[in-house]
Amino acid sequence: MQNGKINKIWELLNTVPDPEIPVISVVELGVIRDVSFANKSYTISITPTYSGCPAVKAFIDDIKSCLKENGIRNFQLKLVYSPAWTTEWMTDKTKRKLKKYGIAPPSNTVICPLCESQKIEVISEFGATACKSLHKCKDCLEPFEHFKCI
């Protein structure tokens, strides 16, 4: 029975969007590491993305209210720092969603999400959020963000 409930929690978590990049969920972002049940309570293990990312606090609050709204009250959130979060935990499907949204997915070769050109200029290694850097495509001339590899 617990397994069914655990799957249900995963499904609910998959409806909580990343506050900054709403096309992907917190599950797709890779920050939910585990959902387990012990002593009548569910433990959801979360690995923060960047240490100081303000979105972390926001999605923790969103997760809490999503679970509560769906009648789950016996849970706790646990912050896990090790292993450190890495963009390698994103699936190819998630990366495709990012690209469609206009953000170049994490990759060592940055490709323009609009015209697929590899002629890219780095504008700044720091973008509007901690996880992104700013680039410009030399072919279609569009500026775009790249999800940094860490």
């Binding site: 240490s51 450190a84 290694e125 940094k148």
Partner: protein, 248 residues
């Protein structure tokens, strides 16, 4: 106070104070991209310090992470004096951060194999971000040093000014030694050779001269600070001092 608590607090304090310095650049950066970059770095540093403060709060139990950050006085802060030095011009900030980032990269690399699991995990996390910070400060140092006569002169001047605060980074006191012997802490002295390598390589590219070792300031780890820290704390702690336990 246990040695581990003090050790953790020292790491947290250096991150917080340097983070606050970077936050002072917010809305005053030389370009919009740089403004964003410095605010991002500031956030990373605040986040790192928060992780270490939370751990320190667990170890001690009498003070929360917020109280550790906002309700201690100058003499109770154990950050490196280098971290508290004023922003000055953009060159001064670049040099200060470069000197500290290079140290942090080596320090966190070692600390990530600490026998203390929490410190090791926090260090591994911080290390990923510090790599970016060092790349940022190194790139700017090279651009400024190898830029105009003016930018070169200002960077060299900053290097001469801040050099006296680099000795402290590699010091070992009784707490450092105790934790090193337990397999928890880092041998700071042993980081010097690699730090020199990073420095010499980057300074060469930046066409800047490595200053001669002279008088070296010390005392940050013991709560002795330069006159700048008090003013920094006055601004940073104002709200929690004026409205204790305020929440929003």
């Amino acid at each position: 106070m246990s040695s581990l608590f003090t050790y953790t607090l020292r790491i947290a304090d250096s991150s917080l104070i340097l983070g606050q310095r970077m936050a002072e650049w917010c809305s005053k950066g030389p370009t919009l991209e740089e403004d964003i970059a410095m605010s991002n770095i500031s956030l990373d540093l605040f986040g790192q310090s928060n992780g270490f403060y939370e751990y320190a709060a667990q170890l001690d139990g009498s003070k929360s992470a917020n109280k550790l950050a906002f309700r201690r006085n100058e003499r109770e802060f154990f950050n490196h004096q280098l971290a508290e030095q004023e922003n000055g011009n953009f060159g001064t900030t670049t040099v200060r951060n470069f000197l500290h980032d290079a140290f942090n990269l080596l320090f966190y690399t070692q600390l990530s194999s600490s026998k203390d699991e929490t410190l090791a995990a926090l260090a591994a996390k911080s290390l990923k971000e510090v790599k970016y910070h060092l790349r940022h400060s190194s790139n700017w140092l090279i651009r400024l040093g190898d830029g105009t006569n003016e930018s070169n002169a200002r960077s060299q001047e900053a290097l001469e000014l801040l050099w006296q605060y680099t000795g402290e980074l590699f010091e070992m006191d009784e707490i450092d030694n105790e934790l090193l012997n337990l397999g928890i802490g880092v041998d700071n002295t042993a980081l010097k050779t690699q730090w020199d390598e990073i420095l010499n390589k980057t300074l060469k590219k930046a066409k800047l001269n490595r200053p001669e070792d002279g008088y070296m300031a010390t005392g940050g780890k013991k709560g002795m600070h330069t006159e700048y820290l008090g003013f920094l704390l006055a601004e940073m702690q104002f709200l929690q001092r004026a409205y204790p336990d305020a929440k929003w």
